[in-house]
């Protein structure tokens, strides 16, 4: 009896470990440093420290699609597809491409645009000025 108990315990723990491991492999980083010298070259302003987890929590109602989107060629619209979240710079580059804004403008539009809107609606919001997102160390 005790042998079976131990066996089940072992299997249970193994499964839990496996689950946790997979969990960590797909989980998001807590904070990202957004600098992208690969796109911008020499940076004109200090890097942005972006708290991803805080945004996940704050935007839980709106969902990941509040920021993450892809352009659907068929409906000619920005759509959110779960599991296909990519970095902004995957599509947005140094220069604008058609209706797709350049990376800097994409960031400013998403970040400052949303923060200002939330401030206007007297909701919990983030920074809206240059130096509050790009603080000098």
């Amino acid at each position: 009896m005790s042998f079976f108990n131990r066996k089940f315990k072992f299997i249970g723990w193994s499964l839990l470990c496996l689950l946790l491991q997979t969990g960590t492999a797909f989980a998001q980083e807590e904070n990202y440093v957004l600098a992208h010298q690969d796109v911008f070259g020499k940076m004109q302003r200090p890097a942005v420290h972006f708290p991803h987890a805080a945004h996940e929590e704050a935007l839980s109602d709106e969902g990941c699609g509040a920021c993450h989107h892809v352009f659907d060629e068929q409906v000619k619209k920005l759509v959110y597809t779960e599991g296909e979240e990519q970095e902004c710079k995957t599509c947005h580059g140094l220069k604008p491409a058609g209706t797709s804004p350049a990376l800097r403008e994409a960031y400013h539009k998403s970040c400052t645009g949303c923060h200002r809107l939330k401030k206007k609606n007297i909701e919990k919001s983030g920074p809206t000025t240059c130096g509050e997102c790009h603080p000098k160390k």
Binding site: Q44, R104, E105, H108, K109, T112, G113, R116, K119, K120, T128, T129, C130, G131, E132, P135, K136
Partner: protein
Amino acid sequence: MDLYELVRGPLAVAAFAVLILGSLYRALSMIKVGKKAKMLYPQASISGGLRSILHHLLPFGASYMRARTVFTVITFLFHMAVIILPIFLMSHIVLWFESFGFLWWELSKPAADTMTAVVVIACLFFIGRRLFVSEVRQVSSASEYLLPILILIVFLTGFCASHQWGPYRPMLIFHIATSEILIALIPFSRLMHMLFFPFSRAYMGAEHSRVLGAKDW
């Protein structure tokens, strides 16, 4: 309301509205005054007027400039920087984009810093000149001291906010608020020469040109 949002939104709109409507009002009143005068100007010459505008737009194009080398160099650099910098500064362009969604060519940071230094040095020079050069002091009114001081404050606080010197948020709000005061003052102060200089210049040039055969440059 958030103080930054107040100066960045409604007060900015108000400042530009005062600038545009005030300038229209000043221009219309000037036309009205001009029509009232029952005077004939038989000696007026259009080419003389245009040549006078051109000569006063060119560095060392007029004799008073040739007589004052340092003043001419400083005033021309000042006027270029004070106009180019606010329009082509990256931080300002980002704000225009936020509001209206369009972009234009931007200055590099070193270029912007150099232009700020030019404006600051020039304002100190202008204030000093009014204080210490007796012929200038005699024709200087209080507003002519206050305007370069205000421009100095606007550019210094802008520089400090950009480099994040001092308390960032109050500095930025103070920079925007003082800029808006400056913009709103344009139609109602000596800063109106931004729009009126071609007319006073053309008048002087036209008056002196035909009969007297004199150049006012």
